[in-house]
């Protein structure tokens, strides 16, 4: 369960409160500049709120630095070139993501990586040594989805993950995203501009207006 209590960030978020239960898939929509990404950055620990507290289950994570928080909060960001490292191989990228859980990468984990990559149906599982910069934008974003969910986590944040992709690739990536989210059954928040992705899997839709969330 993710709980935000009276969060204030600069002048963007104003006394924002939100509770998302475990297994819930919440969509956040809203115009640019209303504070959607600020909300995500606050949850993931890129920025710290001036006021208010953030809880995951019963743990207060308001002041926890991002690198520690990343064990609980997993995020996929808009730009796949930032969300993955192009100069490293798929295997190295996955290893880095896997280490987030504080675990070592062993020989047997490589089999696990392969298994996770098969969800994508992009044949990446047989190209582990390939440099990520040689992949397409859609493949990179799909890879970062796998990376975000490769270790245990409590909350998954998907920030306009299709913003940098063309419509066709967007659909594929969104399909993979909902597949992974359904499989994992964890708390998930998704920011989107596109109402096409509102479907039966979505539990709740929130509208962000001027730093406040409204049920719609």
């Amino acid at each position: 369960m993710l709980k935000l209590d009276n969060i204030c960030v600069r002048s963007t978020l104003k006394n924002l409160s939100l509770t998302v239960n475990t297994g819930e898939f919440v969509l956040i929509v809203g115009a640019n500049g209303t504070g959607k990404t600020t909300l995500f950055n606050t949850i993931s620990g890129t920025i710290f709120p001036a006021k208010g507290t953030i809880y995951i289950d019963e743990t207060d994570i308001t002041k926890m630095p991002q690198h520690k928080r990343s064990r609980m909060v997993s995020s996929v960001i808009q730009d796949p070139t930032v969300g993955t490292i192009g100069e490293m191989s798929i295997l190295e990228n996955l290893s880095l993501a896997h280490m987030r859980g504080g675990k070592k990468v062993l020989k047997k984990d490589i089999e696990y990586f392969r298994e996770r990559l098969t969800i994508l149906e992009m044949n990446l599982e047989n190209r582990l040594e390939e440099y990520v910069k040689n992949l397409s934008g859609g493949q990179r974003q799909a890879l970062s989805l796998v990376m975000a969910t490769i270790t245990d986590y409590d909350v998954l944040l998907l920030d306009e993950i299709t913003a940098a992709l063309d419509p066709k690739t967007s659909d594929i990536v969104m399909k993979i995203a909902s597949k992974i989210v359904l499989q994992e059954n964890k708390t998930c928040l998704l920011i989107t501009h596109n109402s096409r992705y509102i479907n039966s899997h979505t539990h709740r839709i929130l509208r962000m207006i001027d730093g406040k969330l409204h049920e719609s």
């Binding site: 690198h67 930032v82 070592k104």
Partner: protein
């Protein structure tokens, strides 16, 4: 034009400065931090070794002390950058600037120390074999480190800080660790160079950065490994080639080049290689 003796000298100095080049590679390339501390930390390592050897301390222990002192210098630069948010270039320059005074203090207010009749690492052939072994050990150590999980994290910080942060990597810690290892290696290079020359000078560090960078660039140009950690080997080979190049330039009497022209030549060499690099498509 160039005899066996010159090549051997180039090889020796090239190996010693190879360690310096590795240190520079670790900051400039691996963690993407333009660290200017090296001009100071090189002399720091040199002066620490020189003073200890002067007081008849075992040169190997002196070398280890040089290594540690360099690590401390790197730590200071890291703290300035990470904790006090001073820009990377400036924090390095400040520490190098301050090290000048510290180095003079270490050298007991004398601008240079000569190690005549003292036991150094390069006393005889067997010992210079030991010195080579130390250098190879350090090189392999760094390669091994870069292949490890720690090295993977270090490289991730250099490539993409945003990614590193959301992947649970403590960027501040990694930056400081990288700077410490880098400067420790550079100081060790300084210590070895003092042993080799039997001499330490307060201004000996000027241009360490440029020489090291020249070696890194030459190495990258000549030897491109598929695995990035192996680039460390390119640095060492680049360093040796650089020394041979300088030696040829100095011994080519026809060219009429004097010792004081080295900086001009090195600078021109770096510019030329960088321009050549831009002409080609990066692979």
């Amino acid at each position: 034009m160039i005899g066996m003796q010159e090549i051997l000298t180039s090889l020796n100095i090239g190996l010693i400065f190879g360690i310096v080049a590795i240190g520079i590679f670790l900051t400039f390339r691996t963690i993407n931090f333009a660290d200017m501390t090296c001009d100071g930390s090189f002399v720091l390592g040199a002066s620490v070794s020189a003073v200890l050897i002067k007081y008849d301390v075992n040169p190997y222990i002196a070398l280890v002390t040089s290594f540690i002192s360099g690590g401390i210098a790197g730590f200071c630069t890291g703290i300035l950058n990470v904790k006090f948010r001073i820009a990377d270039l400036l924090s390095g320059i400040i520490i190098a600037f301050m090290l000048y005074s510290i180095n003079l203090r270490i050298m007991e207010d004398a601008p240079n120390i000569t190690l005549i009749d003292k036991t150094t690492i390069f006393e005889n052939d067997t010992q210079s074999f030991v010195a080579t072994a130390i250098i190879l050990f350090l090189i392999l150590g760094v390669v091994f480190m870069l292949f490890s999980k720690f090295g993977l994290k270090l490289r991730a910080v250099g490539y993409n800080q945003r990614f590193a942060s959301i992947s649970g990597i403590n960027i501040n810690f990694m930056k400081i660790a990288g700077l410490m290892i880098s400067n420790a290696l550079i100081a060790t290079g300084g210590g070895l160079f003092t042993n080799y020359q039997g001499f330490c000078d307060i201004s000996g560090g000027i241009g360490t950065l440029v020489c090291g960078l020249a070696s890194v660039i030459i190495g990258e140009r000549i030897l491109r490994f598929k695995k990035e950690p192996l680039f460390i080997l390119s640095c060492v080979i680049g360093s040796i080639i650089y020394r041979i190049f300088i030696n040829i330039a100095l011994h080519g009497d026809i060219l009429g080049i004097k010792t004081q022209d080295i900086n001009l030549i090195t600078g021109g060499l770096i510019i030329a290689i960088i321009i050549m690099k831009k002409g080609k498509i990066k692979c």
